[in-house]
Structures are given as C-alpha cells and as structure tokens.
C-alpha cells in the first residue's frame, strides 16, 4: 500500500488508505529507509501502533467525497516570497554546537555506506 503511494507520488498522497493500514514488512521497509535499526520486538510493537494510528486517520475517508480535491495546504495563500538579501548566519561554533562530533570545522559523521542520493 505504501509502496503504491510512493509510486504514484503526490497525486496519490491524499487518496484512500483503506483499513488494515500497515503491515510489519512495510514498517521494516520504512525503518530501513530511515536508517533505523529496529529490533524484531520493536517492529511488532510499532507495526501495531502505526496500524492503529493510520486506521484512526483513515476515518477521514468516510467523509471525503470523490469531488473534493486533496488538500495540501490549509491556508488560502500562494507566492510567499522573500527578497534576496543576506541575513546573518550562525557562527561556526554555534552551528556545530549540537553536533555529536566535529572536525576541521565540519560535522563529523560515521562512515557513509556505499550509497548516496
């Protein structure tokens, strides 16, 4: 179900999600995408919880009619822009203050697997 949504992208994002919302396999897939190492018992636990949440939200389907377009923004606004003017940035030590590790004024992160976006 979720895979199908991804394939159809935003067009499908607001559409029917139906009952029996999410499987354990889908949660495992999402965890992998999110680089979360979930234990087996955590997967069981989260699959149940997520299923409950999605089922609850899915109740919106009961009122959404065919002719109501999916809503992505609640505000009736378009074209909110700013002018191209420089605003102060953070100092590097501020920027790096929350980093678990830093080196050469850069964020130091664990070895990156052989994959990239």
């Amino acid at each position: 179900m979720l895979n199908e949504h991804a394939a159809h992208g935003t067009a499908a994002a607001g559409q029917a999600r139906g009952g029996g919302a999410i499987t354990r396999e889908e949660v495992a897939h999402l965890a992998r995408l999110s680089r979360l190492a979930l234990r087996e018992d955590e997967l069981d636990h989260l699959a149940t919880q997520l299923d409950d949440i999605i089922s609850a939200v899915a109740r919106i389907q009961e009122v959404a009619a065919e002719d109501i377009p999916p809503t992505s923004h609640a505000l009736p606004l378009t074209n909110v822009f700013r002018t191209d003017e420089v605003r102060p940035s953070l100092a590097p030590d501020q920027a790096l203050s929350g980093a678990p590790a830093a080196e050469e004024q850069r964020f130091r992160v664990p070895r990156i697997l052989d994959e990239e976006a």
Partner: protein, 499 residues
C-alpha cells in the same frame, strides 16, 4: 572490474542506435540561499554560511527566495517552456548526511516549467533537443570522506560535512529522450551542454562553471539494435563535470553497452561514475530496491502561482539569447562559420562587441582581440577577459592606428604598456614617445643619415636595384625605434636615390 569488452565506436554505431537523456543541475547565482538568508559565496570557510533553516533545525521554516524563482522562470522561458500557472514544492525524503533535514525540498509531479526545447548545431546540422521539465530545488552539503582511499566513499572511515552549499538554489533541467542522432550522439550531447551553458550565462542567472560544480550533467545512455522500436536499458553517468567529459562519457557508454549486448548480456540499469583520467565510466551502486523517496507536497511552503503579468514582464526583460546573437554578429561582422566559432571559443564575443560599441571598426576589434591579445592571454595562461586591458583601451588603440598616430607595430608596444599598468593607451603613447614620425623633415634627415652610413646599398638602388631599399627602410625603422611610417620612408629613399 575491467573485464569489459569495448566495441570500437564505428562498429557499435553500425549495429546500434543510441538514445540519450541529459539531466543538468545548475546552481543559481543568487546572493542568498533558496529558503533562507544565508550567503552563497563559493569557497567560504566551512559551515560559515549556515543557519537553523539550512541545517534543518526543529522549528525553523523556509521562505522562498523570489530571485531564484525569477531565475528559473527566465531559464524556462529561454528554453521555450510553458511556465505553469500553479505548482507546489515537494519533499523528497532520504537519509543521507548531505541533507541535515533528512529531506530535500524539490519539485515532483508539478515542475514550474514544462515542454520546451533547445536547438543545437552539430557540423552544420540542427538538432532539436526537447525539454521535459525544469524544476526548482535546493543543493546539498559537501562531504569529505576521510580514511581508506582518500576522497572515495569506499573504505572511508568517516565523513566530514560542510553545509555551506546546502540550500543553494538548484535548477534541474531534464531533456526528453534524444533520438535519431546516430554516430553524432556524443557531439549532440556536448553541443547541448555547451548551448545550455551559454544560454544560462547570457541570462546572467548563474556563473555555470562546471569545474566549480555550479553546472553538473547526468548523462543517460541506452542502445537499441538498429531498426528496433523499443529502447534498451539505460545507464546514468552522474556528475560529469566538463563539456568534453559529456562527449566522452556518451562515447564510452556506447562502446561499453555494445560490448555487453554483443556478448548476449543485459545492460544493467545503474548509476555510473565518469573517470576523468581514463575517459571511462565505472559502476556505482546498483539499486537493490527502487528509489523510494516518499515524495509529498511540502507543507512548510505555500504553492506558487506565477501571475501571467510577472511571467510576461520577465519575458520582456530577457536579453538577446546566444543563437540570435551569433546570427546577428555573423551578419554584421561578415564572419565565416569557423571565425565565429573561434571567437566564441576564445571567450572574445563580449569583448569584441564592447570594443565595437566603443567606436572601433569590427575588423580591427576582432584582429586585436583574436591575434595579439589572445596570444598574450595564452602566454600568461589567463582568460582573455582577465587581461588588464578593457574594450575601451582596444578601441582607443585601434582609433590611434586609424588616425595614423601609431602603426600596428607601435600599437603592440602600446598594449605592452597598458598591460604593464602604465596607464591608458594615450598615456602610454605619451610616456613611451610612441608616435609615428610623420614630420617629413625629420624623417628626411634620418634617411640622409642612413644613406650616408650605407653607401654600398645606396649605390645598388641608384643602379636600379630598388628591392635593396628594404635594407635601408629597416635601418630607418631601427633609427626611429619603429616610429616611422615604413611605406613613406621607402618612398622617400627611392625618391632621393633615383631622381
């Protein structure tokens, strides 16, 4: 993995038809980032142009840079695209440290510009490259992989990330499949990248410097047997960073894929990396699972609905585009195709045009920039535009020659002076005393001295060997340090000795 068998290019093209697709990323030259007010200066100290928004800190909110939207609309218009009336940003979710938010703001199924084209010329023939879409997104941070094989992802122990580049406005331009180019495919790919770079540069919205990464091409290539109607599986060679590499990458992929197909193999859909030193491509990751970015409409940004007035205003403000300009100067300056190409390749088009605008005649402007000054730029390993001489200087020198104050030889000395920082052409002429000796009396005196000093040569001329006058003209030029009018000196010498 060098077990690949390459099929010689001509042989490959005899059996297969290539289909190309090119995705180009261009960083816009805005003063600030796409969604925050951080500066975008290239080469700044690491993590000095970052803020809560581009670091993805909780609670921060993006606000779209109007100048970036104007930039992409200008590009879309120049590529003959339709600018849509309404569209949204989309969130592209992925977990990789080059984006601290864990997503990139991009556009998905609602790009801002759609359905355009760019005409490119290869060997006198025009190919229309159709544009599928032009969309707006943000650039990622830069990772430095440390340990193992330095700079390579493989074997790295850890990575150091600089987010100065994260959030710089990035425009992605995607072509439709480029078909029926046959053996010209590599040249068409290169011509497209070249023309696109010229176009964007003319618009003034990016510096499009491939070596600095402000323009990067991903090149898709597939082969199908000649006469087939179904396209083959494509490979995608990422981040090709020079025009020449675009051509080489296509060529290599044609040779490689032909080898795979000839051996009865199957081309794998994968990302490949171009190797600058060998001109080959190597396999990157092959995707275990289809990319799953879970795009959804970006909730933190409201939709864009560029008004038709705004679009028309931007259209009206477009500068003359490269193709139109080339046609105009070819006509105005009376150029052959090759001459125009040389001028463009030398980066002299703007300089020559400005020089003409400053009053020089086209032939003279072209001559100085393309010969004398190009030679000096080459000697110094500099671009023509970097020489400390302005179009106004060149126009003035050519004016001084036209009015007879100096000749070409002296003009070269004037350029010496200007390039050495001695001042304007007039100041150099004055300081170095470079005026042509046009005072006939003074010239006559010098000639008399030269005749007296070279009695043998003088006798030859008296005896009818007029050609010998050259030696005396040389002596006169030497005595006047090049400031005499050589033609006039010759006339006077012959007059004095034969009449």
């Amino acid at each position: 993995m060098s077990t690949e068998t390459l099929v010689p290019y001509d042989e490959a093209l005899a059996r297969y038809e290539p289909v190309l697709g090119i995705e180009t990323h261009i960083e816009l030259g805005t003063t600030t980032k796409m969604f925050c007010g951080c500066a975008t200066e290239f080469g700044a100290e690491p993590n000095t142009q970052v803020c809560p928004v581009c670091l993805g800190m909780p609670g921060s909110l993006p606000v779209t840079n109007r100048a970036a939207i104007e930039g992409i609309i200008k590009i879309g218009l120049a590529l003959n695209c339709t600018i849509v009336e309404w569209c949204r940003f989309a969130r592209k979710n992925y977990f990789y440290p080059d984006m601290p938010k864990n997503f990139q703001i991009s556009q998905y199924d609602e790009p801002l510009c759609i359905d355009g084209y760019l005409d490119v010329e290869v060997e006198g023939e025009t190919y229309r490259v159709e544009i599928e879409r032009v969309h707006m997104e943000e650039d990622t941070g830069k990772s430095l992989h440390v340990g193992g094989a330095t700079g390579r992802i493989h074997g790295a122990d850890f990575s150091l990330v600089d987010y100065n580049r994260a959030g710089i406005p990035l425009v992605e331009i995607v072509t439709k499949p480029i078909v029926a180019t046959g053996d010209k495919a590599p040249l068409v790919a290169r011509a497209y990248a070249t023309e696109l770079r010229e176009l964007v540069r003319a618009l003034g919205v990016s510096d499009v410097r491939m070596e600095q990464g402000s323009m990067r091409c991903d090149v898709n290539v597939s082969l199908m047997p000649k006469g087939a109607s179904e396209w083959g599986t494509r490979s995608e060679t990422k981040n090709v960073n020079s025009l020449r590499s675009v051509e080489r990458a296509v060529r290599f992929e044609i040779e490689r894929q032909a080898g795979v197909l000839d051996a009865g193999g199957r081309v794998i859909q994968e990302t490949r990396h171009f190797q600058e030193n060998t001109g080959s491509t190597t396999s990157g990751r092959s995707k275990e699972e289809a990319q799953d970015y879970r795009y959804f409409p970006e909730p933190d940004l409201v939709p864009m609905a560029p008004s038709r007035e705004w679009v028309e205003q931007l259209r009206a403000g477009q500068p003359e585009l490269p193709a139109a300009r080339r046609a105009r100067v070819t006509e105005e300056w009376g150029l052959a195709e090759k001459e125009l190409r040389d001028i463009v390749n030398a980066g002299a088009l703007d300089l020559i045009e400005d020089t003409i605008r400053e009053g020089a005649d086209p032939a003279a402007a072209r001559k100085w920039w393309m010969n004398e000054l190009s030679r000096r730029a080459t000697e110094q390993g500099a671009d023509l535009a970097e020489l400390p001489v302005t179009p106004a200087d060149v126009a003035r020198v050519s004016g001084l020659v036209a009015e007879g104050t100096i000749n070409d030889k002296l003009a070269r000395q004037v350029f010496d002076g200007v390039l050495a920082g001695e001042g304007s052409p007039d100041e150099v002429v004055e300081k170095r005393g470079l005026k042509v000796v046009s005072d006939e009396g003074q010239l006559g005196t010098v000639i008399d001295e030269v005749i007296a000093a070279n009695p043998d040569v003088a006798d030859k001329i008296r005896g009818g060997k007029v050609a010998a006058a050259g030696a005396l003209v040389g002596a006169v030029m030497k005595a006047t340090r090049g400031q005499a009018d050589a033609g006039r000196a010759r006339e006077l010498i012959i007059q004095k000795l034969t009449s």
